[in-house]
Each structure stands twice: as structure tokens, then as C-alpha cells.
């Protein structure tokens, strides 16, 4: 349904080059994880892909159309972005916040129709947040808020979902719940690009991984291939123990503390 493709993308801030020669692709039904150390350019990729950072070189195409050429409302109907955190200035109710996701679909200055409200409620239900509908958004906990924001993205009915470290501030249960939903969405055909820093979540949920370092792609491929000790060490500049776990059937990563490293290599 949606294909997101970056080719040889470059982006510079005033004094430094954040992205250089970056290429990656996300196909329908795929969850692609974007990993990298701080400052590697992950958030910049989100900005470029979502259309907020326009001054990029190279090509960013959604469904074979350059992002720059998409009219903003049309783009918002095709692509939804879930940021790391959102601050809410106004005491909207959770349902009203989710309804904001219908904005790209509404014409003129009208109010939302009954159908829009139904879509919003269903989105909340899919996120397990239907009981939050009437609550003030400013009163919700971080986990509840993030569920509402996620529901808002769903209400946009996108064919492509971009997530920028969406679970950073969530506890472990909510992290799992959120990514379970992401998985469900991908299984229904939505293409998902997610930036994340939790290696184990990445291993569990992503079909493919892209490793970024200093604005360049270090590795790009199926999770099982990319998720190796050597690759991770090259990317993050630290020792990570990697193994395939019996219980989950997926890779796991255990960062090695200094103590463990010294035990393994007593002579160094």
C-alpha cells in the first residue's frame, strides 16, 4: 500500500552535515527499525521523511512521489508521525486530541462528522484507551498520553507510519503494548519506520534494521543478518553480547558492563 524510499539523501544543519548519502526503503507490511548512537541522524531522518525538513538533497519518495511535491494535507492522509513526546498546551480531552488526527481528512472549517468520531473512538479502542476518551489530556500519565497520541496517528488512517522513539518514556509493559500494536498494523499492510534505541525491542519487532552512524548507513538488512556483535560494536562503539534466544526465537542483546569486559579480557 505504501512504499517509502530514500535515495542518497543528504542534510546539513548550519555547521555540520547530519546525513550523507543515505538510502533506505520501507515496504508495505514491513517494520523497519532505525538504530544508531546519539547524534547519528535518526531524528533528522524523521524530519526529512515527514516533510518538516525540506532542505534535503537527494530523493525521498513516498509511493514514487517526492515528499516535497506532496501537498501537506494529502501527505498527512498518507503518513502519520508519532513523536517522542508531545506537550499539550490546551486541556483538550483525549477524544478531542485523537480527533485532531482527522484534520487532514476534513474539508473547509466544518466540524467532525459522526463517522469521524467513530473512527477516533475505534482508534482509541485499538490502543486500549477507550476509557480515557473523556479525560483531560493534561491529566494523563505519560503512558496514557502516548497511547492517545498513537491513537491520533491511527485516526489519520495512514498507509505509512513513522515513529520517533515512541516508547522512550514508557514503562516496560507499555513499551510492549505499543509495539505489539505496531506489529499488528504492519501485518495489516501499513509500512512502518521506527526509530528506537532499545536493542531488544528492535530485535523482537523489526523485520529489517538500518544502522546509522555519523549520518551514514552502516548496515541495512533483515534483522537476523544485521544484529551481530560486530555490526553493533561498529555502530555503537561498545561491547554488546548478542545471541539467539530459545524462548522468543529472536535475537537478544546484552550490553556488557565494564566489570564483565574485564572479566572476559583480564589482560587488557
Amino acid at each position: 500500500m505504501a512504499r517509502l524510499e530514500l535515495s542518497d539523501v543528504g542534510y546539513s544543519y548550519r555547521d555540520r552535515r547530519a546525513l550523507d548519502g543515505l538510502s533506505l526503503a520501507v515496504r508495505s507490511g514491513e517494520v523497519v527499525g532505525l538504530l544508531g548512537p546519539n547524534g547519528s541522524g535518526k531524528s533528522t531522518v524523521v524530519g526529512v521523511v515527514s516533510g518538516t525538513r525540506r532542505g534535503y538533497s537527494g530523493s525521498v519518495r513516498l509511493n514514487d512521489r517526492e515528499i516535497r511535491d506532496w501537498p501537506p494535507r494529502e501527505l498527512a492522509r498518507a503518513m502519520a508521525v508519532v513523536p517522542q513526546e508531545t506537550s499539550f498546551g490546551l486541556p483538550f480531552s483525549a477524544l478531542e486530541v485523537v480527533l485532531l488526527g482527522r484534520h487532514p481528512h476534513l474539508e473547509g472549517l466544518g466540524f467532525e462528522s459522526a463517522r469521524d468520531v467513530a473512527i477516533a473512538r475505534e482508534a482509541l479502542a485499538r490502543c486500549g484507551a477507550e476509557d480515557l476518551a473523556g479525560r483531560d489530556i493534561v491529566e494523563l500519565s505519560a503512558g496514557e498520553r502516548q497511547r492517545v497520541v498513537f491513537a491520533r496517528a491511527l485516526a489519520q488512517q495512514p498507509s505509512c507510519l513513522v515513529l520517533d522513539e515512541p516508547a522512550s518514556f514508557l514503562d516496560i509493559r507499555h513499551q510492549v503494548e505499543l509495539y505489539d500494536r505496531v506489529r499488528e498494523l504492519a501485518d495489516s499492510g501499513i509500512s512502518v519506520l521506527t526509530v528506537l534505541h532499545d536493542l531488544n525491542l528492535a530485535a523482537e519487532y523489526c523485520d529489517r534494521l538500518v544502522l546509522l552512524r555519523n549520518g551514514r548507513v552502516l548496515a541495512d538488512g533483515p534483522t537476523a543478518e544485521v544484529f551481530t556483535y560486530a555490526r553493533l560494536r561498529e555502530c555503537f562503539d561498545t561491547e554488546v553480547y548478542v545471541d539467539l534466544h530459545d524462548l522468543t526465537g529472536k535475537m537478544i542483546a546484552i550490553p556488557m558492563s565494564g566489570r564483565v569486559q574485564r572479566r572476559l579480557r583480564p589482560r587488557e
Partner: protein, 332 residues
Amino acid sequence: MPSTRRPPTARGLGVRAAALAAVLLGAIVLAASLGAGHARPWGAWDESARAVLLDVRLPRVLLAAVLGALLSAAGTVFQALLRNPLADPYVLGVSGGASLGGVVALLLGVGAVGVPVVSFAGALAALVAIERIATVEGRLNVVTLLLTGAIFNAFVGAAIFLIESVVSRDELHAVVLYLLGRIPSPSWGALAGTAAAGALATIPLLAMTRAYNVMSLGEEGAAQLGVDVERVKRRTFVLGSVLTALAVSASGLIGFVGLVVPHILRRLLGPDHRVMLPSAILGGATFLVLADLAARVIVAPAELPVGVITALIGGPFFLALLRRRGSSHGAA
């Protein structure tokens, strides 16, 4: 406190707007019935009563309604633009330009015709200058806008002080009175013109109300939902400033209306701008009509400056509001 508000609908808005319009109408009738003169809208009218009601009192009551609407609308949209509930129409510096223009016009003796015109021109000159300064790399930076406005207001304040210190006593008195905020009794032509200009500037703002809702997610979030953020910001700043300029050039600086009315309505009706902006227009009109009534009547035949009334009501109210806000919201 859990909110059990349902999302607004067109019919809900219609009902609320009709109710507010009815209240406004009642306020206008009340205000037209009372005044320093003894004329009443009912009963027999002799020639002087006719003149009092139709030439002096009614135009003034209606001008109060128009100015109340302009200031409340400007306050509402500036609060949306700056994402700050403490914004009022004067915070962005345009009122400084209007005041300075008006003072200069007053002292140059351009006559009563010239003062509102020069004041308005001063406001728009300020608008252009401030907008230029706050536009960085093609984007209107909201924080810079706020700072520029504050600095500009301070500069104008100093300039006016300087002027006050060098003019004669007579002119000093005129300047102080001009800045105080008084609603004049306008000619019908002036009233119609102000109302028409205000309406023209308000219509595009009403069209952007849903965009304001979306902008509460932040500029990036709003852009990702398809809002043309730069256009919304620029239009809001320009049109809101035009509304403020119209108000200040007509009456000097009347405070608190643009700050307090949006707040009250937000508490009562919710933060959805599609409901808030029309309600603020009607509610602000009512507020100023009643405040001006008090100003005209309390110490008749003398008049209190209406800004005194709005401050006396608005000040304590606003403090009470801040206290409640502080206790009911933890971290936003």
C-alpha cells in the same frame, strides 16, 4: 477533574452562539437605557431625547460592543499563536505603535480626524517592522515575536515618557488622557467603518480555528497533520494586529478585555477554538458594553475611564484564575 465534554458539533456551536447573542442583545438594551442623561428608549421622545439616544448613547454602546469583540478576538488568536494563555492583544507591540502614532498626531494638532488615522498607520508600521524582525530564514519565530513585541512596547513607553517630559502642561494632560482608554461617542460613519474593517479581518481568523486546535500539538506536530503553519502564523499575527490597531486607534488602551474574556470562555466552553473564537467575540462585546455602562453611570456626570473598570474586574478575577490553575494542574 475529569472532563465529560463531548466533541463540539455545528449545532452545539449554534446553540451557544445564540445564547451569547441573546445576552449581548440584553446588555445593549440595558446600556442604551441608562446613562448620564435621562433619556430612555421607551416612552415619548422629545428632540433632545432623540439626540441623546440616537446620536450619543447608542453609537457609543455599539462601539463598545465592536471594540470588545475586536479585543477579545485578538486576544484569543494571539493566545493560540503564542501557545500562551497570558497573551493579550498588546503583547506583540502593535499597540505601542498605535499609541505612539496617536500621541504624535495629537501633539501635531492634526485634529480629531487625524488622530485615529495616524494611530492606525503607526500600528501598521509597527506591525511590518516587528514581522520583519521576527522572521528568520523565512519562518516566523514565535519566541522572537514575543520578545520583539515586548521590547518594542518598552521602547514606545520610554519614547512617550520622553515626549511627556518636554511638552507643555496642557499637551501633557491631553496625552495622558488619550492613553487612558476611553470609549468615545462616535459618528455612525466611524462606527460602521470600524465594524466593517473588524469583520473583514475576523473572517479569515474564524476560518483558521480548526488549525489553531491542531497547532496546540506544536508547530512540527501541526505541520505533520497538514497545517500550513507559516501561513497560519503570519495571517494570525497580521490580522490580530489589525484588530488591535483598530481598537487602540479608536479608544486608546483598554486593558484586560483581550486577556480575561478568552480565559473565562475557555473555562466555560472548552478549548476548541471553533467554539471559543465566536464565543469570545460575542462575550467580549457583552463585557465591554457592561463595563462602559458602569464607566458612564457610576460617577455621572463625570466618567471613569473604562480601562479602570475592566482592570478592577479583570485584575482580581485573573488572580483567582491563576490560583485555581496552579492547583488543578500538575505538570502539563
